[in-house]
């Protein structure tokens, strides 16, 4: 298979993945534009009269001999409109070609080299860009008409003056970004000369955005050409040009001759619409990320739910907290609903004894995708008690982050959920308003990357004030600010820095701020999704200690999502191991880590590299495709102990120890001499298969 084949396959996949509406718009745009192009190409054959022939009767109404009528200069309108299309295409193509030839290389060199040349070029281009574009084109047209004489080249050049800075800016900015990519370093490290790096590594990537700018600019160029013609600049009299013809027809409107301006006007509207639709469509298909931004897994979750802010909140006086308790913590953090008073403030319900703070029941999440539904979470049930910490572990793609989002109720629009999420016994899935109110309040979230979750334009304190006042409308700004300082102090951020901006903090400090935001409203449940993955090991230790401390003091129920088994071993009470959207093993840390029962858990633990590791054994193979049907145990294809039943029957959770379950057909009643029983936490490890199935295509 050739690379062209793969390139086509990639485009075809994007085409299929794009929405039906954008595909239809693209097709409509392509048909309209192609129609105009055909007319332009065949103009001499289609036009009943020459574009310069002015021997028709003056200002004749549309008739059989002159379908669109004639003008006061005795031109045939239909012929002028047809030849006008030809001119429009000539000028658009030529002006774009000029702009590309000048703007793209300048942008590439300027962006890649940097330094003085870059600064000078940016200055010039910015000056051109800042100039009103039509005025710039008029000045250029005026000068060029004298210098090269009026005609298509002059018109094209004068329009390209507008677009050179645009191509330059887009290409330069894109180059600046690509220049920092590791593959450019790799090219430098292989000794590639600058010219080769710019062409094969930078331009090859940067130029992918050019078709998009082109289609967007083309429509604009048609309008600019018409505007120039309308004002009397651009092309000489006898050349058919829509804008020029409309300009000439202005005086006819008073005499009732509507046809002289209507038809060229419709032509402009038609071509501009066609090109715009085409541009938008190409953009959608080539850059699906722009379109899918709102649906992507990495949706930015506003700290304050705009809808929650408008909802009336029952006034909360808070349960009586013994004064003097928990001196170190601010008052706002001290009150522990359900623990200190045994009352959940919002619902007014008294939780039944041993009611878990968070309960997930038969939760499934399915993503719609071009390949069919993807079962990211598949019938998960999990309970977390107040003050308890449960680690959710597994390889990437096992559904642990989706589960976290499903609990919060912040799944992207392409997801479908079934099953229940209960907060203190209240089913949130039955009441969207309650879920919204709980989010950021009694149910909160800490993300992996704190840098992207704070608004760079807002002081740290304002984040708190906004959040507190959204959920506790009665709070004054001063009170909210005071609470912010208290909770910041509690997580180790000097209160004096509350009025600093997020970028003035280090990564570790920003994560502390995120945690402070997550706990300021005294949540019942905290979901932490890889909270320390972007941090250094020393800072990680500080953050984990902080989370543990808050959990104990506030009686928080914590769900810690991580791929790092070491963190779970050190900070959690229980662990749930996920594979292919299902929990395959769950139990107390001591039990699961000392005696893992599911072959997947055993393999995962064997793959961990610790300071004691002498030889790590990778988990062979790859997780299954969740878009396909998964009969039986999803781990069976990778499992060295798989039996016949594993491929056909889905195993359910089976008790394998105290509060310890595994979803595996080996249990119950497995042979005690079976290799799966012979796990040792250190030393000999269960070796799954000898030769890893490396390099298999996904």
């Amino acid at each position: 298979m050739s690379s062209a084949h793969h390139r086509r396959a990639r485009l075809a996949a994007r085409w299929r993945a794009s929405g039906r509406t954008s595909r239809r718009l693209l097709l409509a745009g392509a048909v309209i534009t192609a129609g105009f192009a055909l007319v332009a190409l065949l103009a001499p054959l289609l036009a009943p009269y020459g574009q310069a022939a002015h021997d028709a009767p003056q200002l004749a109404r549309p008739s059989w001999s002159h379908w669109f009528g004639t003008t006061n200069l005795r031109f045939d309108v239909l012929s002028r409109v047809i030849f006008g299309a030809r001119l429009a295409f000539e000028v658009v193509l030529a002006s774009t070609a000029f702009a590309l030839v000048i703007g793209v290389p300048l942008g590439l060199v300027s962006g890649y080299s940097g330094g003085r040349l870059d600064r000078a070029l940016v200055l010039v281009m910015d000056a051109l860009y800042a100039f009103p574009s039509l005025l710039l084109a008029i000045v250029a047209a005026f000068a060029l008409a004298r210098w090269v004489g009026p005609g298509v080249p002059a018109a094209a050049l004068s329009i390209s003056v507008i677009y050179v800075p645009q191509y330059f800016r887009v290409v330069r900015n894109h180059t600046l970004a690509v220049r920092e990519e590791a593959f450019v370093d790799a090219a430098r490290a292989m000794g590639a000369p600058k010219r080769v790096i710019i062409v094969r590594y930078v331009a090859a990537n940067v130029l992918q955005s050019v078709p998009v700018i082109f289609t967007v600019n083309a429509a604009d160029a048609v309008l600019t050409l018409a505007a120039l013609g309308f004002l009397g600049y651009g092309v000489p009299l006898r050349t058919a040009e829509w804008g020029f013809d409309i300009g000439n027809a202005i005086s006819d409107v008073g005499t009732g001759a509507w046809w002289t301006s209507l038809f060229p006007g419709l032509a402009i509207v038609g071509l501009v619409t066609g090109m715009s639709l085409l541009g938008e469509g190409v953009n959608d298909v080539l850059n699906p990320r722009l379109r899918a931004a709102g649906l992507a897994s990495d949706v930015t979750i506003p700290l304050v739910d705009p809808e929650a802010a408008s909802l009336p909140e029952p006034a909360e006086d808070g349960p009586g907290v013994p004064e003097g308790a928990e001196q170190e913590l601010p008052r706002s953090v001290r009150a522990v609903p359900g623990i200190s008073a045994g009352i959940v403030p919002d619902s007014g319900m008294i939780p039944a004894q041993n009611e878990p703070a968070l309960a997930v029941e038969s939760l499934s999440v399915t993503y719609r995708s071009p390949r069919g539904p993807v079962r990211a979470v598949d019938g998960v049930s999990l309970a977390v008690a107040a003050g308890e910490s449960v680690g959710l572990v597994g390889e990437s793609g096992c559904g642990k982050s989706t589960l976290g989002r499903a609990v919060l109720g912040i799944l992207p629009a392409v997801a479908e959920r079934s099953g229940r999420v209960l907060l203190d016994g209240v089913d949130l899935t039955a009441d969207a308003d309650a879920w919204r109110r709980a989010r950021g309040d009694r149910l909160s979230l800490v993300f992996q990357d704190p840098a992207t979750r704070l608004d760079p334009l807002q002081r740290v304190e304002s984040h708190f004030v906004e959040l507190i006042r959204a959920h506790r409308p009665g709070t004054s700004k001063a009170d909210a600010a005071r609470q912010a300082r208290e909770v910041l102090a509690a997580v180790g951020v000097p209160p004096g820095r509350a009025r600093h901006y997020p970028h003035e903090f280090s990564g570790g400090m920003r994560q502390r701020i995120m945690i402070a935001l997550a706990v300021v409203l005294e949540p019942r449940v905290l979901v932490a999704d890889e909270p320390t993955t972007s941090l250094d090991v020393l800072v990680e230790a500080q953050i984990l200690d902080l989370l543990g401390d808050l959990r104990r003091r506030l009686g928080l129920a914590v769900v810690l999502i991580t791929h790092n088994l070491g963190i779970v071993a050190e900070t959690c009470d229980r662990v749930a191991v996920m594979y292919a959207g299902r929990i395959v093993e769950e139990g107390p840390i001591a039990s699961v880590f000392a005696a893992p029962r599911h072959p997947y858990t055993q393999a995962l633990l064997g793959a961990v590299i610790t300071l004691e590791t002498e030889a790590a054994v990778a988990v062979p193979g790859a997780p299954p495709d969740l878009a396909g049907p998964l009969p039986g145990c999803p781990f069976a294809p990778r499992c060295p102990l798989a039996m016949g039943i594993c491929h056909d029957v889905r195993p359910g959770p089976t008790p394998v120890g105290r509060a310890h379950t595994a979803a595996c057909h080996l249990y119950p009643g497995a042979d005690p001499t079976h290799p799966a029983q012979a796990w040792e936490p250190t030393g000999r490890r269960l070796r799954l298969t000898e030769a890893p199935r490396a390099g298999t295509l996904r």
Partner: protein, 329 residues
Amino acid sequence: MTGEALVRVADLAVHFPVRRGVGGPKAVVRAVDGVSLEVRRGETLGLVGESGSGKTTLGRAMLRLVQPTGGRVEFEGRDITRLGERDLRPLRRRMQPVFQDPHAALNPAMTIGDAVAHPLLIQGLAAGRAEARARAAAMLERVGITPAGAFLDRFPEDLSGGQKQRVVLARALITEPGLVVADEPVAMLDMSVRALVLDLMARLGRELGLTYVLITHDLATARLLCDRVAVLYLGRVVEIGPAADVLRRPRHPYTQALLAAVPRVAPPTAGGPTRPVLAGEVPDATRIPEGCRFHPRCPFAFDACRPPGGTEPVLRPVGDGVDVACHLP
């Protein structure tokens, strides 16, 4: 085979000028601030430390991907500190990088086959594209991308993270380098794949007689793969020696703190974890503390470490082949 120095770094400094904010005061980031060490032929030397310790910049300076502002880098006995790009070119095939993010390390506009073949063409080591691609295919097979024929014309986006990192490795090894500087080669990979890639690197290292500089913040990875490790703090080596000694019996308080912070995958013992947590974070490399640069965070700092009067400790041998830069006896 181990012993002779392949790379020798002497008093190396890499300082970057920065401006704090628009029109703000100028400052200098001292990313690498006086490092002397050698990488011995055939060994794997680990550079460990937190982000901001200068380990990545030191690695890039060894490859001359960044221009040192002071000191010297010698490669195979030749001073390459101030060589121009043209003179460096023939040396570049002997020293190659492997990057942290396999998704960013491959040109999205180039097929796998071309990406691996390109260094051969750039270096003039293959007669033509056909020969270069044939050798690329052989190298891809060697790193476990099999069958290579099915991958040559594919684009990087069709590959998983682990597969991309194998391709990056193939591209680095195709010109038969002596030195490979691998910057966090498995940090972005799934736990289950890491062991595979590390195992592959170790095997290729033995088979091809490679010398590795392994840059990592993960002490467990360093312990598994490295013969020696250098612990960096704020652009300086604070401890260097055999991995088994440095990571089993750390002497510098910073190394001790780093090791103590590594989460252990072991069933918790009674009493729960008691882990000394180091206060503060790596200070700003534009304002390196005077005296011992670690003193503001050091639980054992005493007068000799702090200004006034305190001095920056230099590396001194403490036995077992370990050198430590610390005033503590």
